[in-house]
């Protein structure tokens, strides 16, 4: 963008839109008043501001309820206003911090569609999420962070290659996972086994071949498999591969 965050912080902020994870709005003001105020903070004034606020109310689908106080809105509606605030000044880069946390599926779909639309308009979108399917759907480039450190970065295809074409099988047992872990690690075709909160995740080359062997091994150890979930290679598998743990908050 041609600006230094150190020497020109205000110039950088003027091309940046931020959508915080928590709703950061004035609940005792209406949606229109919120958008108008934040628009002024981004330097918009007069007729341009008014027009942009109306435009944004249309974009977030709240034109007919624009004069209601935000405190009376549902969680999804607040999220939409929260995003609308960051888009008022047409930023070149928008940063969305987990914008779909705790909202209903309909609002979530609305937000995801909006992000895709922004991307298609040429805006750079920086999107953080715990939902790998969101990252997979929205992103051209994905960065995986763990404990505050960047552990992988690339396109979806590049990241999946990190775990090869392995399939992840999640299983639950009627006994402690520790009883079978050692045995399953020696099963032919198993690349890696890990357990967390009662679920055992097994990375395999071919689930059709390996799954019967896992059942046999469990039977030998008097353990019964109570559920099986087969997942083709995806970002979650990548994360599991890289960190050895399932995703957490």
């Amino acid at each position: 963008m041609g600006h230094s965050i150190r020497s020109d912080p205000l110039d950088v902020k003027s091309v940046l839109g931020v959508v915080p994870q928590d709703i950061a709005l004035y609940e005792d003001l209406t949606a229109r008043e919120n958008l108008t105020f934040w628009g002024k903070m981004y330097g918009l004034r007069g007729a341009a501001l008014k027009a942009r606020v109306n435009e944004m109310l249309d974009i977030i689908g709240l034109r007919d309820r624009a004069n209601e106080r935000v405190g009376k809105y549902s969680g999804g509606m607040k999220r939409r206003v929260n995003i609308g605030v960051a888009l008022l000044h047409k930023p070149k880069v928008i940063y969305l911090d987990e914008p779909t946390v705790g909202i209903d599926p309909q609002s979530r779909r609305n937000i995801l569609d909006s992000v895709v639309a922004l991307k298609n308009e040429g805006m750079t979108v920086l999107y953080t999420s715990h939902y790998m399917e969101e990252a997979q759907e929205l992103s051209d480039h994905i960065a995986i962070m763990d404990h505050g450190k960047l552990i992988a970065c690339g396109t979806h295809e590049e990241l999946v290659k990190l775990v090869g074409q392995r399939t992840r099988i999640d299983l639950t047992l009627n006994v402690e996972a520790s009883r079978v872990l050692g045995s399953w690690q020696t099963v032919e075709g198993v690349a890696r086994v890990s357990a967390e909160e009662g679920t055992i995740s097994v990375l395999v080359e071919d689930s059709n071949r390996v799954l019967p062997r896992l059942f046999e091994a469990a039977t030998r150890l008097s353990a019964r498999i109570t559920s099986v979930d087969i997942r083709e290679p995806n970002l979650e598998a990548v994360f599991l591969h890289l960190t050895g743990r399932a995703l957490r908050d």
């Binding site: 003027s14 931020v18 915080p20 950061a24 004035y26 609940e27 903070m41």
Partner: protein, 434 residues
């Protein structure tokens, strides 16, 4: 411009809060209104009304050595041939007509019986030798005071009147004694003039008996001039209370509004503001401006409302304005200062319950002690330890018509408080968000 936008946004939020509006305007006016109705009523035009005390008088005074007093200074302008008649004339004066309903009994027993039958609340029995005892330099003139024991205020007023009168008479005796000790025998003929002169002075001082009896006045200081006195007693009671309420709640509003900085931090809107292309100094300036403007609106509205509703005289425009400005600055900067020491709004409960209430009460201590001169003097001194005390002091100065220079001094002290509070508060907030 952005600072003003932030301030206007904050003010919109403040004035939309029913809780804030009630505390800003409702409670101060309500408390003052309660006192207003306790001490009078609007329907009667703000006059101070007490029920009349029924007094039955048995004047048995047979007179003594002839004396004449200057009747022009005896309430009711009546001639009095005896001391007993002088007492009766005083009690029947026009000034006392609103307080006392006088009737007469033939004898002492009849007067006492009237009280026993609750036909009167007080019996005043002037003995037959009252004038003689008074005329005797070594004698003791005594009036019997017989009252309904279940009553306090009415009989108390009558007792006070009589005490004043008897004090005056005692003064006459002392004056005559001194005169006779000092003068030679040829000058004894002037004794009558000494008595007359003394009565002229002492009775003239008690012309406005109603005011003397109730002895109600502004707490902080005596009025500087008569023209600035409140038009009636009710206002003299209510005005300082309204002034105290205004100051107390202005500081409450200053602190409460300044808390919006912490509230916005918790609502995450303040961090979001910092992500906009708005300098931190502008954001904080906007927040501080909001506090100042909110308190300003509150103070102006309360001043005007109190004038319109209760008829309170705030004094001349310039002194009142100086005090109001000083109050607004000190209340808003005090709020910023105090909040700069808080980690979060939860600590605000302790703040409001402790610091604000305590300093507010200290600031108003002079008003609470208004009927006790010694306590009032001490209270005035103690109250100046806190900014609220200076604000109350300034308001009372303006109300009492003190000169602009005096009020200006008080306002300058308030501005000095403000500058200190503001500097510390701004420094701490800047440090916090740096």
């Amino acid at each position: 411009m952005k600072a003003l936008d932030i301030a206007l946004k904050d003010m919109t939020r403040s004035f939309r809060s029913a809780f804030a509006v009630i505390f800003m305007f409702g409670i101060p006016l309500l408390v003052t209104g309660m006192f207003y109705f306790m001490f009078g009523n609007i329907a009667s035009g703000g006059e101070f009304n007490l029920p009349k005390t029924k007094v039955v008088i048995a004047n048995l005074d047979e007179g003594g050595p002839k004396f004449q007093v200057s009747t022009k200074n005896i309430p009711g302008s009546r001639d009095a041939d005896t001391m007993g008649e002088l007492v009766v004339a005083g009690l029947q004066s026009e000034e006392m007509a609103d307080l006392i309903e006088v009737s007469f009994a033939r004898g002492a027993e009849a007067a006492r019986a009237a009280v026993d039958r609750q036909e009167a609340q007080v019996a005043i029995i002037i003995p037959a030798d009252f004038s003689r005892q008074f005329a005797d330099l070594d004698g003791k003139a005594v009036i019997e005071f017989y009252q309904d024991p279940t009553l306090t205020i009415g009989p108390g007023i009558i007792r006070l009147i009589l005490n004043r009168f008897m004090d005056g008479m005692s003064g006459v005796k002392i004056a005559v004694n001194v005169f006779l000790d000092e003068a030679d025998t040829q000058a004894y003929a002037l004794a009558g003039q000494v008595v007359r002169q003394y009565l002229d002075i002492s009775l003239a001082q008690t012309e406005n008996l109603e005011e003397v009896l109730l002895d109600v006045r502004a707490p902080a200081s005596a009025p500087a001039n008569d023209s600035a006195e409140s038009p009636n007693l009710l206002l003299r009671i209510v005005s300082p209370i309204m002034g105290g309420m205004l100051v107390f709640y202005a500081f409450f509003t200053g602190t409460s509004t300044a808390q919006s900085i912490l509230k916005e931090e918790e609502e995450r809107t303040l961090p979001r503001l910092f992500t906009t292309p708005t300098p931190q100094a502008t954001i904080l300036s906007g927040k501080f401006l909001a506090v100042f403007l909110t308190v300003l609106v509150q103070v102006v509205v309360l001043l005007v409302a109190a004038r319109l509703i209760f008829g309170i005289q705030w004094g001349d425009f310039l002194p009142a304005a100086l005090t109001a400005v000083g109050t607004v600055f000190s209340a808003s900067s005090f709020g910023i200062f105090v909040n700069s020491f808080l980690k979060n709004t939860r600590q605000g409960g302790v703040l409001f319950g402790g610091v604000l209430t305590m300093t507010g009460m200290i600031g108003m201590i002079g008003i609470f002690a208004m009927n006790s001169p010694a306590a009032a003097r001490l209270g005035d001194t103690v109250s100046l330890l806190v900014p609220q005390g200076w604000a109350v002091h300034g308001l009372l100065q303006a109300m009492n018509g003190q000169p602009v220079t005096s009020v200006l001094t008080t306002a300058l002290v308030m501005l000095a408080w403000s500058a200190t509070f503001f500097a510390i508060g701004v420094w701490r907030f800047n440090k916090r968000y740096a």
